[in-house]
Amino acid sequence: MSSASAVSITSEPDATGHFGPYGGRFVPEVLMAPLEELEIAYQQAQADPAFHAELDDLLHNYAGRETPLYYAKRLSEELGGARIYLKREDLLHTGAHKINNCLGQALLARRMGKNRIIAETGAGQHGVATATVCALFGMDCTVYMGAEDMRRQEINVFRMRMLGAKVVGVSNGSQTLKDAINEAMRDWVTNVSETHYLLGSALGAHPYPLMVREFHSCMGKEARAQMLEREGRLPDAVFACVGGGSNAIGIFHAFVPDGGVRLVGVEAGGRGKATGDHAARFSGGAPGVLHGAFSYLLQDDDGQVSLTHSVSAGLDYALIGPEHAWLHDQGRAAYVNISDEEALQAAVRLSRTEGIIPALESAHGVAEAIRQAPSYPGKIFLVNLSGRGDKDIGIYRENLKELDAGL
């Protein structure tokens, strides 16, 4: 791709929330007017300096922004190629980038006079971040979580409960993120007048993909400025894992106009494409509609949504955020996938070279950077380390049995 062509790419949606052909607003009529209301409230908040002042204060003093840009020296030297920098979102309050969006949306809900918050969660990070901001603002909080994910992430379930949230297990379908969103949307359809749905990824009906991106765009803005300060130049490539795609779009956004910066989204390759047990939408999916947005979707020939698999609950979802679909089709971002096994190995490697245990989701981004680094000496890589691994210790133990046995 030539950098000249990339510079002309804009990633702003049209007035009805379409990124190219993707995105839009595909929901039952009951939700249409409330989404219009949300869009207006969001636009008004975005134009209000007082809103930004309060959000920035909370991001700094409560959540811990800005996060460091850390040069992973031992990892880079061991790989002997590109120099790898990590954007340390894992150091944020609650342990992942999710809090950025939660603070923004909670402030917005308060402006709209909605005191009841609902959310879905996969890995539990968004649920914990939502429960956290609800505690902070004294809001009523209900989090929907797949029963299978509740098993995989039991510590996060308890964290949410300790923070005062009600966690509702969803035992329909695959009992994962998709089913949790179904149930959250059913709640929203029913209680829409007093309830704000605090959607946790760059998914769903307009204005969610735009709004979630904007609340997370601080990651890319900071990282870009930090990189210029440290290296005097931009990175050559930016890596981020992509489930729905919020951490990726948050770090990509500031770099989209920088045509020389490769953007690499890393999907969950699961047990491998041949097995069908994965969440690699760009290699196995086709455009379709799920949960309000048109994008690449893993589905069968009859338009039924496929069951997905990833060792990491946060990447285990059938649709990719619509802006990623658009960046993909324009060739502005490349999307690859990393298997469960590669992600686990990358997590161990980062732990042992840098003393940083990453979230399983983030380990997918790290793994792709590790894979590419030896081929790019002299280049600079930026990896969004979107979350820390504390929540995944149980899964690491299950999957790294020799380590657990002390072998």
Partner: protein, 272 residues
């Protein structure tokens, strides 16, 4: 050309009756049961059939219809298979048939392919719960090209501007969602249906059918004074769920629907 749906509403109006629109999930409990069930609904007095095409992620549906969709998908229901059911119904009946589903199965099948094959199979129209009027241009255009009705939902939250759009894009009838929430049975009909109907009437004189939470004869009778039709879904689907394996399912369904249909008739005409 007058559609079967429009013609049905005209006939009912002449008899001072309201339309009983009956929903069932096609393929539930198994694909082979659907045609006899539809014919039983017709014998019992149902005026229009909503043939639900099951979808894996039915966000507008409550647990009863969610379970029906799961059963139907497990039993192998597919869009093509459901069109084949429609062909078989058409060999025996002229009852109006409306496909009722979510956007993705139709998108995947293709608007043109679905419209052409649905028309040929004897389907009269389509309703996609998660397709808003704003996004519907391509779909409506293909449906019109094949003389199929497009029914859209009006909701308690719809603004006047939205009601106007919904009324304009709807043909056959307008489906008024009587309350916020998912499909499912309720004890009472929503209190503000009359107000919603009045607002909708300022935009359109198309027939209105009220659904969501309508499950008993008294609900139907209450709504007789408000709208041209009522939609009953979950109560029918629950009956199919409870008696799906029994030999007298059709007879039970007929008895239940016959009772509902009484509510659509003028009180002096109704057989007690």
């Amino acid at each position: 050309m007058t559609s079967r749906i429009a013609q049905k509403f005209a006939e009912l109006k002449a008899r001072d009756e309201r339309a009983l629109v009956a929903y069932l999930t096609a393929g539930d409990p198994t694909p082979s049961r659907t045609v006899p069930l539809v014919l039983a609904l017709e014998r019992a007095g149902a005026d229009i059939i909503e043939l639900g095409v099951p979808f894996s992620d039915p966000i507008a549906d409550g647990p009863v219809i969610q379970r029906a969709a799961e059963r139907a998908l497990k039993a192998g229901a597919s869009v093509a298979g459901i069109l084949e059911m429609a062909r078989r119904i058409r060999q025996q009946s002229q009852i109006p048939l409306l496909l009722f589903t979510y956007l993705n199965p139709v998108l995947r099948y293709g608007f043109e392919r679905l419209a052409a094959e649905a028309k040929e199979a004897g389907i009269d129209g389509c309703l996609l719960t998660d397709l808003s009027v704003e996004e519907a241009a391509a779909y409506v255009e293909r449906m019109r090209a094949h003389d199929l009705d497009t029914v859209f939902l009006a909701a308690p939250t719809s603004t006047p501007r939205r009601l106007e759009l919904v009324a304009r894009y709807s043909t056959g009838f307008i489906y008024l969602v009587s309350r916020t929430g998912v499909t499912g049975e309720r004890d009472q009909v929503a209190g503000n249906v009359a107000d919603m109907v009045t607002s909708l009437r300022t935009h359109s004189d198309k027939p209105i059918a009220v659904g969501f939470g309508v499950s008993r004869r008294e609900h139907v009778a209450t709504l007789r004074g408000e709208a041209e039709g009522v939609v009953v879904g979950s109560a029918i689907v629950r009956l199919i769920e409870e008696h799906g394996s029994s030999a007298d399912l059709e007879a039970r369904l007929e008895a239940f629907v016959r009772e509902l249909k009484q509510g659509t008739r003028a009180p002096e005409m109704a057989i007690p």
